[in-house]
Assembly symmetry: C2
Amino acid sequence: MTRRLRVVLTGFGSVGRSLVKVIVSKRDLLAMKYRLRVDVVAVVDSKGTALKTEGFSDYELMKLCELPRSGVRMFEPYALDYVDMNHVYDETQPDVHAELTPSNYASGEPGSSNVLNAVRQGIHVVLANKAPLALRFSDVMSLALVKGVAVKFRATVMGGTPLIDTLTSMRSYEIVRVEGILNATTNFVLTKMHEELTDFREALGRAQALGVAEVDPSLDVEGVDAAAKLVILSNVVGRPVTLDKVYRESILDMPISEVVKALNHGNVIKHIARLDLRDGQASVRVDALPKTDPLARVGGTLNGVRVRTDVGELMLIGKGGGGFETAHSVLDDLLSIALRGDVSAR
Amino acid sequence: MTRRLRVVLTGFGSVGRSLVKVIVSKRDLLAMKYRLRVDVVAVVDSKGTALKTEGFSDYELMKLCELPRSGVRMFEPYALDYVDMNHVYDETQPDVHAELTPSNYASGEPGSSNVLNAVRQGIHVVLANKAPLALRFSDVMSLALVKGVAVKFRATVMGGTPLIDTLTSMRSYEIVRVEGILNATTNFVLTKMHEELTDFREALGRAQALGVAEVDPSLDVEGVDAAAKLVILSNVVGRPVTLDKVYRESILDMPISEVVKALNHGNVIKHIARLDLRDGQASVRVDALPKTDPLARVGGTLNGVRVRTDVGELMLIGKGGGGFETAHSVLDDLLSIALRGDVSAR
C-alpha cells in the first residue's frame, strides 16, 4: 500500500522549481524505499495559484517549471489569478505546506502569515524561508505544539548539510559554541579575493555572474542571512537570541590590502558566524583565522561549522544553499513528516 | 511530572563506567530539559550482577565505579555472584537494555544472545558493542520490528560524532560512497609515524601507554574494527555487506620507509574504510592520500568521514571512540528512546 503525502508549495522560484524536479526524479526511489508518493496539489506564487486536487502529474509538474517567474496563474486549466490560501487548503486538503518564498527580514511576509495560518489549520509545515523563524520562532513553535503539527526547517541552515538534525540529536551534550561559515555567497567572494587577489567588486561580480550572489547581495554581504541562521540555531539549542541582538560586521568593499596583510601573517579572512551558548552572544564577524584552522580551508560555496561541546569538537563541512541542495533538504523534511506517522495512508 | 527510564547495563568496563558517571553528572540537565530521570536498575559484568529494583542512588553508582573489573558481584547488599538476565529482567522490569560488553567478532557473544533475548522480551536495546550488529544485523532488526522495540546503536560508529543519524536522516539522497577514518587507534599510530617518523612498534607502544590502543591491538591494526563499522553503516544505508566480504589491509609493522616515501610524494598514509554503494564493495585499505585531501588532515584520535551523494559531498570530523565520548552517544540513544514516547511515565 502506497502512502500519499499531499503538499502545497508557496514560492515558486529556484527552490520551488528544484523541489518539483527532485520530487519527479525521485518518485521511484520514494516508492521503493518508503512506499510513499508525494503529490503536489497546489503551487502558489506572488501573483496566482495552480491547483489540482488529485495532484499534478509528472508531466504537468515539468510544464509548471517552464513557466516564467510569477507565472503559475497562466497554467490553464488549473490556474487562479489570485492567492487565497484558505481556498487552496479547502480545495486540496493538504498534509503539508512547504514555505519556499524569499526570506524577507523587514516584514517577515508573506512567510510568517502563511506559516502561522497553516499551523492554525492543523497543516504540517516545512520551511526553506528563514524569516518566519528568524523573526517569530517561538510564536510558530508554540502554536505548532498546541495544534500538534510538525514544523521542519532543515533547509534554512546549511542547505544540503544536516546541521540542525545533528544539533537536535545531541541531547546529552552541553553545546558550548557553534561557529562557522554559514553563507555561501560571502565565502565564495572571500575565497576569490584570497586565491586570485581580485578586489571585492570584481569577486562579487563573478559571484553574480555564476548565480552564487543575488543582484542585491546586501543580505549576504552585510551578514543578515548568517545572522538569521544563528537565530534559528540559537532556538534549536534552547538559548534563543533575537535578530536585532546579533552583532554584525559587513564585508562590503573590504579592501584587497586587508587580504594581502592577512596572507602575509599566515592568516585567511573569513566571515564567521558564532553563537556562544555560555554568554548568549551571537555575532557575524570578519575574522582572520590561521591558515591551519579547518574553517580557513572551507572554500568557495562550501559551508563549514564547528560545534564545541563539553565532550569535544565536531566539524561539519558541506554545501550550503543552492536550489537543488535546498530542495533535497525540504524533501527530507517532507519524508520525515510522512514517515513519522502523522499522515494516514489514503 | 518526571518520566523515568529504567536501564539495565551489561558490560562494566570503560564505557559502562563512563556511562554511569555521565548519567550522574547530567541528572540536573536531564531533569530540567527533558523532565527525565535515568534509573540504573542493574549492572551486569562477566562474573556477576548488582541489582536494585528501585534504581541505584548517585552515591551507589559512584561506588560501583570504584570496584575492580569484573567486581560487581562484590557490591553488597545488591550483589549476585552469577549472571542470569531473565532473572534480572523479572526483578527490575527495565525499559532499556544497554549492551556495553566488548565486541567479540568470533562468536558475537555475549552480546548477540543478550541483545536477541532482550528484544524477544520486548525490552528496547542500545548498543555500544558492535559485534551483534556486525554479525547479525538483520536478525536483530527483524525481531525488533516484530516486537515493536527500538534498537539504537549510534555509539558503534564514530562514538561522539553522529554519523549514523546523519546517514539515516538523508532520506531523499542517493548515498554513493562513504569513506574515511573510522578507527582512532590506527589513526593515532599513523599520525605519530608521520609527525615524528617513529617506527610502527614505537608508535603503537605510545598508543598503548596512553590507553588509545588495547594490549592486544589486532582488531584495530588489522582493520577488523573498521570493517565491522562498515558492515553496520552498510545496513544503515540499505545495502548490507557481511563482515567476511570486507576486503582488509593491515597496518601491522608497516615500515617507516613507506611513510617517508609517501611524504616525499606529498602524500599521507591513512587507514581508509570505504563503502561503495554502487557496486556494493567494502574495504579497509592502507591508502596514500594527497596532503590536501581533508581526510589526510584528520589526525590523532579523530575520526573523519566523507559522504558522497548524488547532490554533493559532506564531511564529518569528530572524536571516535573513547569511553566518555561513547557514553554520551549511548545516553543520547537512551534519551531518544525515552522521548519518542515508547516509555510511559511512571
